[in-house]
Structure formats: structure tokens, C-alpha cells
Amino acid sequence: MDIAISGMGVVSTAGYELEDFWNYLYGGNISYGVVDEFNNPNYRVHIGAVIKDNMWRENLTDCENVFEYGRASQYAASAVLRAFVDANLDRMSLKDTRIALCIGTTMGEVDYEENISELLVKDDANDLPDIKKMAYRYSSDNIAEGICDMLGIRANYYMIPAACSGGNYAIALGEKLLRANKADIVIAGGVDVFSRVAFTGFHRLLTLSPDYCRPFDKKRRGLVIGEGCGFVVMEEKEQAKKRTDIHGCLLGAGVKSDRYHMVSPHPDGDGAYRAMKEAIQTAQIGKDDIDYISAHGTGTSSNDRIEAHVLQQLFGEENIPPTSSIKSMLGHSMGAASILECIASLLMMEKKIMLPTVNLIEKDECVTFNCVPNTPQKNKMSYVMSNSFAFGGQVGSIILKGK
């Protein structure tokens, strides 16, 4: 079965229309800055990527029960609906279609947990009904349930928390379901909201950059926390083509465990190497066929160094394809990162342009490849690899083919 990607939808700090998303990133714009909530002496770093307005929610205006659900659920519903529209799917006429949602995340509806914690500090008995309501809607299945409820669709679902590899894991599970004939259409993606827990945690791990995310740069100082959501529509290619123009195809996915440490990558990048190898194998292409790699590229000292090392091991020092990281512009949107990178990769393939790694002043010595510094570059873009390496050693790699 050839699996096509027939629709895409984003809610991100670079916009929520695909064309705006593309133009923002093509222009090398950064979508992060000072976050007021963290601009105080309790934090040494104040930079993050936050979706500042609620305009993205406009496409949910005619939907039911939107405010019964948390922010992550609303991001997800908005992005799924955009993906539906992009795939030319009419959600009202899908009664006999077996739809499955596969959704990756790092912390789910953590917004609700944070609100509950604040109310518990306040210690006002009048807040109890709100606390109970938020606690009921906190468990992650509410995100998927919320999409079905808000959009009025009858879909099966799998919530797949896999930290920063959430999107790639969701795609991998979606591929399993399609090939096992458990679904006719899979909507796969990832979502995370900007959270105090994530910001405070990464801050305490000393992995936050105080200014810019500078993947592969000699003087890189860490990552920038972000948020967002993305979804793709996956289905059998011929079925999709009867209805719409496709964006490209998923050829293969490799998901593995580093089995080394909760936050540090394996020093040899063992899990990453195996995931990439498996993706290439299942895609049935040669590694020389790969035209571009969308890196995990968080901008931390250890990730970028080990990622560069693994690429050398896999491709040989002289043969690493051009590799860039759009986290330099979006920040790290956690569970949404790998799906936004997948979507950006498909857009890159359509336009035959590689998006840049911005903020690059001096390449690190360990980076022997073209990291597309600061400005986009034209390229033949038939096959793309997109990688993600997450907390807990969850590594994922997917291979995409242009249309």
C-alpha cells in the first residue's frame, strides 16, 4: 500500500494557514521573544515561542462545546479541521469511513494541571467546581475525545505521548493502522501548549538559550521552548488522488529506544542510528537517495553534537545530505515539533527549496555538512528524512517522498 499525505493543518507560532506558515519560515523569521509570565527574577531566561492571539480558533466558531475542553484540545481540533479542509474531506459525509486519530504529545492538557495548582494555592472553596471540571478533562484522552466532540466526527483514537518524538510516533502508529486495515483514513499529529512545567524544568536543566536557538553553531547555548500543533491526513494513495491533490507520500518510519538515559542522548547516538537505518530500510530506498534531512536540531550542546556524529556514521563524513533545523525559527514545540517538521518538509519538497538554519554565525567543527545557513537554498527534493530524538530515549525517523 502506498500511503499518501493528502492534507495538512497547523496551529503554530509561525501562523495557521499553510501559505503563511511557509512564508514565515522562508523569510527566516524567528517566532520567539520575551514571555511576560517568565520575565521576572525567578527565571534567568525569559525567551519562549508563544501563540499570542486566538485568531486560530476562528475556524471552530461553528463547533460545539469548544470551551468544555482545554487549550491543547482546541489547538488540536483547529489543526485537524484545517487538515480536513486541505484534504478536501467533508466531515459531514464521512459516516462510513473508518477514521483513526493518532496524537502525540509531551504533557497533554498540562494547562489544566497548572490552573488547578494555582487555584489550590489560592485555597478558595468556591473554586472547587472549576477544579473538578478541569481535573475531569485533564487526562490525555480528552484531547482526542475533544476533537471528535468539537468537530462532530466519529473517529477511533490513540493518544501517544512520546515526548518530542510525538509526531513521528503518531505517524508510525498511523502507518501500522493503515497497513493492518484498521482504518481508512488516519489523522496523525502532535500537540503541546507552552507550559510553566516545561519552561521551569528545562530552565533548571540549564538547557535554555537566553537569546536565540542556534542549532549547529559553535556558540549555541540551548533550546527555546515553544508550543503548537500539526496534523496530516494519511490514506491509501489512489483513494486520496480520486479526491484531491496529494502533498507527498510516507515511505517508511523507524521508531526505536536509545535505552540510555532519561534526558541525555546515547553518547554514540545508538538509538538515532538504528531508527534512521530502519526508516531507510522500510522506505526501500538507498541512503544516497535522500536529498535533505530535517534535523531534530534543538540547539543544545549535546543534541547537535551527537546528531552530527550519527549522520557521519550513517552517511559517511563527505556524503551527508544538506540538513537544517527549523527549530532555529519556531523554537521547540515539544510534541508538535516533529509533525511541524514533517509538514515543513512536505512544503519544502513541493517548492524544491530547503528552509534554513537561522542564527548561524560560525558552524561547529563537528558539523561537516551543509546546514543551509541563514538563507533558503534550492535543491532537488525527491526524498526527505525527518528526525526526532526525545526525552526517555524515544527516537523517531521518517522518510517522505515528494508528489
Partner: protein, 78 residues
Amino acid sequence: MNIEKEIKGIISEIVGIAEDKIDTKASFQDDYGLDSLRALEILAAVENKFGIVIDPEKLSEMVNVDNVVRIAKEYINV
């Protein structure tokens, strides 16, 4: 306040060894089996104890008790 004693107390708790049995030159990683997260835990605990902010670049030097004491003193005396 005896800085050495306070720091030894912090590390004793993290390493799980009695204060008087800690070798101040022993490597946290090689001799006590601590990983990078535990190293960060030591840095965070020392910062909170003395109300100081240690440069992240110093983390890689904080390999044993002696070094932690030396670095902490640099910041406490400021």
C-alpha cells in the same frame, strides 16, 4: 557557616553515603556512579542553599566535593 560542611551534607544526601565517609577527591561520576542529572541536582542544591547563581559553564568542573566547594566559594564571596 562552614561552607565545606554544608556542601558535604548536600552531597552526602544525593550520593547516599554518610558525610564522614565521603572522599572529597572522589569523582562523582566514576567513583559514586552519579549521572549528569545528579550533577545538576548538586549544582541546584548548592545554589539554593547559598542563594547564589553559578555559571552553567562551571558545571563541567564540578566533578568532586573539593571542586564544588572551590566554585561555590567563588560565588559566595562575591
